[in-house]
């Protein structure tokens, strides 16, 4: 069998660094996480400053779930159970997640989903 050439492939790139041009979207902001603080307080500044972006991703995940399960029953079930799941997570992660949900003004269950998404997504 003859495989077709990858239509999106290209020759190896050179001279891309320092990042500029069309493939470079920007740098990322820096934050300090103080591990001496109680877990609930560690992420407050970051979660507060990124609350709009967090709400956007949470709302989108909900929209995707509605597409696959239009009745909304699964979504309601998950929302009610995820907060409980959060309480079963090991210390200090459970408390850090609670602190993020509070600071970002997002439901605890939603932040729990965001934090366990990898385990669900690997299917």
């Amino acid at each position: 069998a003859v495989l077709a050439k990858d239509p999106y492939g290209e020759d190896c790139r050179y001279q891309q660094y320092p990042p500029t041009g069309a493939t470079f979207r920007g740098s990322v902001p820096d934050y300090i996480i103080n591990l001496d603080l109680p877990p609930r307080e560690r992420w407050v500044q970051l979660a507060h400053e990124k609350k709009d972006e967090l709400k956007t991703i949470v709302e989108h995940i909900k929209k995707v779930m509605i597409v696959f399960f239009p009745s909304g029953k699964l979504l309601h079930l998950l929302e009610s159970k995820m907060a409980w799941l959060g309480s079963t997570l090991p210390y200090p992660f459970n408390e850090e997640i609670e602190g993020i949900a509070h600071a970002a003004e997002v439901g605890l269950g939603d932040i729990v989903v965001f934090n366990v998404f990898y385990e669900i997504f690997t299917v």
Partner: protein
């Protein structure tokens, strides 16, 4: 995702990764991109975890996620994780957790714990190899000495393979996408072959963070799912993260 560890002729180790995420979670026709990938970009941050005003470890992370997908313990080791898809996937581990079997680690919590608490490459490798997990994963771990680099292929319960750097026998880099190294990647998602081609062209004597950035900027290693590129150099404790775009024509994954 694509993660690479490379060792130069002097034994210096470099570690870099593309973070790809958002497949099948909605396509934005207008902007020709995955919706989740675009939404995640403003959430990317660079974090410095400190105790007593001193850096313990640093990471490139998504705001709101307390686990780690890329991080560096300066002077000691660097770590990235790539998704590993399996029928025996994380949902089974989640169900087990819900029903009270809680002896496994959530992936992100394990990587966070390793970065926060492990004080050597060997200790980190041992934990990543032997800890019980809720979901399969690839851990890509590099130390600060020649030969200290490995790709650990994990099922939920065991290490299926540990692929080590061995520059004196020609293995001067290890490279992981989202497929077991002993299996052929899907023909429509082969980022491994072009990445290896570019690494081989780069050659060991030219390895550097800019060289790895070049490889990770080549399509389809750079693709529509790519959120960011992170570059790490352990001896200097250097970590740099850049948000990425992949203008058309560009592979959707």
């Amino acid at each position: 995702c694509t993660s690479i560890i490379a060792e130069d002729k002097a034994g210096k180790l470099y570690h870099a990764r593309n973070l790809d995420f958002g497949l099948f979670l909605g396509w934005d026709i207008k902007n020709s991109s995955w919706i989740v990938t675009q939404i995640l970009k403003p959430l990317m941050v660079s974090l410095d975890f400190q105790r007593n005003n001193k850096t313990v470890f640093r990471s490139a992370n998504l705001a709101g996620y307390v686990g780690m997908v890329s991080g560096i313990r300066p002077g000691i080791f660097t770590l990235t994780m790539n998704e590993r898809f399996s029928i025996d996937g994380g949902y089974i581990g989640v169900f087990e957790w819900i029903f009270g079997k809680r002896d496994g680690w959530w992936m992100g919590f394990l990587t966070r714990s390793v970065l926060e608490n492990s004080t050597s490459y060997e200790e980190a490798k041992d934990r990543l190899t032997n800890a019980r997990l809720l979901a399969p994963a690839y851990f890509i771990l590099a130390g600060n000495q020649s030969g200290q680099g490995s790709v650990i292929t994990r099922s939920r319960t065991a290490a299926l393979d540990v692929w080590n750097l061995n520059a004196s026998f020609g293995t001067w880099y290890v490279l992981e996408t989202n497929y077991d190294r002993w299996k052929v990647p899907l023909a429509v998602d082969d980022r491994r072959t072009p990445a290896m081609k570019c690494m081989n062209r780069t050659m060991q004597q030219n390895v550097s963070l800019p060289a790895l950035y070049n490889v990770l900027s080549t399509k389809p290693i750079l693709n529509k799912l790519t959120v960011s590129t992170t570059l790490m150099e352990v001896s200097e404790g250097r970590i740099e993260t850049y948000l990425r775009d992949c203008p058309d024509p560009c592979s959707p994954w």
